[in-house]
């Protein structure tokens, strides 16, 4: 197994930008298709490294729950996303880390995201850690951790895909 797949930074960026755009535009199926079967989508609470098996998280979705989350949007009755938040995020400071998890390449990036809703405009920001893997020649993510800068503070509703 080639552990660190030969990924140049442009390929990685292209993936991250696309992931960001699909989330911003609520293109749920396409976003869900970016995940591998052993996916983990995690937004810690309280600190960046709170153990998700013993501590509360904002999001801690395995592949199954990601699917449930997406299905819930698709019912058309996920009230906290009706109307859907207007979103645009900037992804930057992309770094391919010098470590690998199994066959996955570990990548980190910062983001700033502006959300507009009737309740007002909110700025979300943080650093994401991704694990990327080549599956049948396509890049997929098996892990996305979103370390919000304000994850120890009071947060408004965040029911879109961060």
């Amino acid at each position: 197994m080639s552990s660190v797949v030969d990924l140049d930074i442009r390929t990685v960026e292209r993936f991250l930008y696309r992931e960001a755009r699909l989330a911003d535009e609520h293109r749920y199926e396409e976003w869900e298709a970016l995940w591998t079967d052993d996916a983990l989508y995690w937004v810690p609470a309280g600190s960046d490294d709170a153990d998700p098996m013993t501590r509360m998280s904002v999001v801690h979705d395995n592949r199954n729950r990601i699917a449930t989350r997406i299905k819930q949007f698709r019912t058309g009755r996920r009230h906290s996303q009706i109307p859907a938040s207007r979103l645009r995020r900037v992804v930057s400071n992309v770094e391919v880390l010098d470590e690998a998890v199994g066959e996955d390449v570990v990548v980190e990036a910062n983001f700033v995201l502006v959300e507009s809703r009737e309740r007002g405009t909110h700025v979300w920001a943080g650093r994401c850690t991704y694990r990327l893997r080549l599956v049948d020649g396509e890049l997929r993510m098996s892990y996305k951790k979103v370390a919000l800068v304000d994850n120890a503070r009071v947060l408004p509703t965040m029911s879109f895909l961060i």
């Binding site: 501590r55 509360m56 904002v58 801690h60 819930q72 309740r119 408004p156 029911s159 961060i162």
Partner: protein, 417 residues
């Protein structure tokens, strides 16, 4: 306005089957509530497991008041106000920690974690050491029920036991789910802001009318049986305990199901260690406990136990409320705890499959209540079909507004005292 005027005003604004919309939107009403409710009655503050060891402390709140819950070396739990007795700086910045004292950063005054002033620099300026009779402010009354710590800013008044009344039994029902008879709140808290009045949250917690509509999306995709518990055909009931407390009593439905852990959407076979521990600890009674499950109870004004999760409602302004939420953890039940935590994380908080939608409703409600007409909020649902049970509590159907009427009756009493 004189006190009598204010009393008359709340008498008029809170009626048996309708309440005035301004109660949710007026900053003056909020100021009155702080004085008459939040700084007068018993308010839930924290759980002893959050300060498990001697000298542990954690920052908590009573409404907008910043309260330090500490445990001194002798094991006693204190509720101190986070305000230096010198010129008012915060004495504690950390969210939690372990320390026998708090030292104010401004001029270095130091307090024991039980509140006494133990030192101040350059003491000649005060005529020497030990001359000052100052200390941290305290919540005058602190009382604990089953590890749940309550505080009251009123030096006198009803005891915690009187305040809780029969709602205390629901807390007892929760702790019985632990084979060791204790719960722990060790999973940390999500803090979720609602741009809404606190009473909208408190009312909603035992409103069995909304789940089928607000949560239809998740009920339909997660194949949960919860929706059916809150319907016209459900044998579940809504009960007002008095003192503003209320519950959705789902036991009739769980008893009908008759399956241990059915209330939790799982089976005995999948939780063998837990079930064995429960049978060993409770003997015969275990069957009933396992079948009937956890309570769904709102303790006035700010503690909500929703089966596997616990909320505290913290009002910050007439239109800003923070929902603090954590997973209940049962002492001696590791396999249950793991599952309760993951289920709770999925449901609640800013991204919760359930709570994000409730919060959306609170916020829309707040906006709507700012509209001038029709002025009143209607809470008459089910009043023609409720009855009083053998313990003297008012009981309505699963989807009735019995709990809300109980909430408002108590609110009126406190606001017109």
């Amino acid at each position: 306005m004189t006190h009598a005027d204010t009393r008359a005003r709340y008498d008029e604004l809170v009626q048996p089957e309708r309440v005035h919309g301004s109660l949710y939107t007026s900053p003056e009403v909020f100021a009155d509530e702080l004085a008459r409710i939040w700084y007068s009655t018993w308010v839930y503050v924290g759980h002893v497991s959050e300060v498990a060891k001697p000298n542990d402390y954690v920052r908590k709140a009573i409404g907008p008041q910043d309260v330090i819950m500490s445990r001194s070396a002798d094991g006693e739990v204190h509720l101190l106000l986070n305000r230096c007795a010198h010129r008012g700086n915060l004495v504690c910045e950390a969210a939690a920690g372990n320390s026998s004292s708090f030292r104010c950063a401004y001029h270095g005054w130091t307090y024991r974690n039980s509140g006494e002033l133990v030192g101040y620099p350059f003491h000649q300026g005060y005529g020497g050491r030990g001359k000052l009779d100052l200390g941290l402010g305290r919540v005058p009354r602190v009382a604990v029920h089953q590890g749940f710590v309550f505080g009251s800013f009123a030096p006198d008044g009803p005891s915690l036991a009187e305040h809780l009344g029969d709602a205390a039994g629901e807390i007892d029902r929760l702790v019985r789910l632990s084979p060791e008879g204790e719960i722990e709140l060790t999973a940390g808290w999500l803090q979720h802001r609602a741009r809404a009045n606190w009473k909208l949250l408190a009312e909603n917690e035992t409103d069995g009318y909304h789940p089928q509509f607000v949560h239809a999306s998740i009920f339909s995709v997660a194949e949960s049986g919860i929706g059916a518990l809150y319907g016209e055909k459900s044998s579940a009931v809504t009960r007002a305990f008095g003192h503003g407390h209320s519950e959705n009593d789902l036991r009739p439905e769980f008893r009908r199901l008759g399956a241990p852990l059915g209330w939790f959407g799982t089976t005995e076979e999948r939780m063998p260690g837990y079930v064995a521990a429960m049978r060993a600890a409770h003997g015969e009674a275990a069957q009933e406990i396992l079948v009937e499950g956890a309570p769904h109870v709102m303790i006035f004004p700010n503690l909500f136990i929703a089966e596997i999760q616990m909320f505290t409602i913290q009002p910050l302004a007439h239109d800003v409320t923070v929902q603090h939420v954590t997973a209940v953890q049962l002492k001696g039940a590791p396999e249950m705890n793991r599952r309760m935590l993951q289920q709770c994380v999925g449901s609640v908080g800013p991204a919760g499959l359930l709570l994000a939608d409730d919060t959306e409703m609170y916020e829309r409600n707040q906006v709507g209540l700012g509209e001038l007409r029709p002025e009143w909020v209607d809470v008459r649902r089910g009043s023609h079909r409720e009855h009083v049970d053998e313990r003297g509590h008012t009981v309505g159907g699963a989807t009735d507004e019995t709990a809300m009427r109980g909430f408002w009756a108590h609110y009126r009493e406190l606001m017109t005292r």
